[in-house]
Amino acid sequence: MARRSAPEVNAGSMADIAFLLLIFFLVTTTMEKDKGIARQLPPIQEDNIIPPKIKEKNLFIVLVNKNNDIMVNEVPMELRNLRKSAIDFLDNGGASSNSPEYCSYCKGNRKPSSSDNPNKAVISVQNDRLTTYNTYIAVQNELVAAYNFLRNRESQRLYGWDYTEAKKDMGLGRYKGKAKDKINKKLKEIQQMYPLKLSEAQAKKQVAN
C-alpha cells in the first residue's frame, strides 16, 4: 500500500500566536535609558584642615530656603535668571591684565567687584533640609548649564565642536585609538579653563527667609 503523505499543518494561526507574544513584549518593554546629572562628592575631610580662604568676590552663594525661594549673594532671584547670572559671574574675569590671574579668554564685564578668574570662582549652593528635591535639581541643572555654556563656547572657538557633544560621543565610545587621546586632552583643557567648582555645604537647618 502506498504511504499517504502526512497532511500539511495549517500555519494560518502562526501569525496569531506571534501577535500574542508580540503584544506581551510590547507591553512589558520599558526602553529604560537612565540619564541624569553626574556629580562627584568631596571625600571626607579631616577636622584639623583649615579651609582655604576665598575672597568674597569670588564666591557665588546660592541659598534656597524651605519655600523654594532662591537668593544669590543676598539678593532674591528667579530661577529663570540663575543661569544668566551664573554665567556672568564665572565669565567675569575681573583681574587686571597685568596680574597673573588675568583671564585672556573671558568675555564678561570684567567688573572688579565680581570674580577674578574662572579658576578662582566658586559657586556654593546651600539649601534648607525642607527644600524640595525638585527645586534642588532645577538649581543644579541651571548651574551645570552655565558651565556647559561656557565650555561649549570655548571649545567652539578653539576646536569648532561642542564640548558637551564631544563628551557624549566619548561616553558612547565613538572615538578610537589616537583620536580618543587627542579629544580627551582637549576636553581636559576646556575643563581647566572653566573648572567645575560647585561646593555644597551640608544642608542647613534653617537659612534666612
Binding site: L22, L41, I137
Partner: protein, 157 residues
C-alpha cells in the same frame, strides 16, 4: 488579439498574507531583545524631576538608591515620610552601607571600583533626606553619584 482579451475582466489578486508571520516575528524578536524586565519592585513613588544638562548612566557599573514617599499600597503601614529603598526593601539611613556593599557585590568585579551610585529620588522629597544619603556615601567612599532625571526643563512648566 486574443492575448489582450484574456486579461479582460480579471480582478486584482488578493494580497498574499503569507509573509505576515515573518514580519510579526521580526518585530517580536526585536522587542524580546530590547525588553528589560523590571528587576526591582518599586516601594516608593517615583516622579523624577526634570533636567536637560544630563549624561548617560552606565548601567554596568551602577547601583540604585530609590527614595520618596511610600507608594499608595504601603502608605498605611509606613506613613507619609520620605523613605529609602535599596534592592527590594526599605532601608534605614544607618543600613545604607550594608545594602550598598551588597548591591555592589553583584556587579562585575572589574567595575566595582568605579561604581556609580544612581539616585532615583521623587521630586517631592525633602532635600534633607538626599543630604543624609550623600553624607553616608562620602563615609563609604562611593563619591561618584548621578541624580537620575527625566528629560525636560523645570523652567518650562
Amino acid at each position: 488579439m486574443s492575448k489582450f482579451t484574456k486579461k479582460k475582466g480579471n480582478e486584482l489578486p488578493p494580497i498574499s498574507t503569507a509573509s505576515l508571520p515573518d514580519i510579526v516575528f521580526m518585530l517580536l524578536f526585536f522587542f524580546m531583545v530590547a525588553t528589560v524586565m523590571r528587576e526591582t519592585d518599586l516601594l516608593v513613588e517615583q516622579n523624577l524631576p526634570k533636567a536637560d544638562q544630563v549624561e548617560k548612566l552606565k548601567k554596568d557599573r551602577s547601583v540604585f538608591i530609590f527614595a520618596g514617599k511610600p507608594s499608595d499600597q504601603y502608605k498605611d503601614k509606613y506613613g507619609d515620610e520620605g523613605r529609602i529603598q535599596i534592592g527590594d526593601k526599605y532601608t534605614e539611613i544607618s543600613n545604607i552601607g550594608l545594602a550598598l556593599t551588597e548591591a555592589r557585590g553583584k556587579l562585575n568585579p572589574e567595575l566595582q571600583s568605579s561604581v556609580v551610585v544612581a539616585l532615583k529620588v521623587d521630586d517631592d522629597t525633602n532635600t534633607g533626606l538626599v543630604t543624609d544619603i550623600k553624607e553616608k556615601l562620602r563615609e563609604l567612599n562611593m563619591v561618584k553619584i548621578i541624580y537620575i532625571t527625566t528629560p525636560g526643563n523645570q523652567l518650562d512648566n
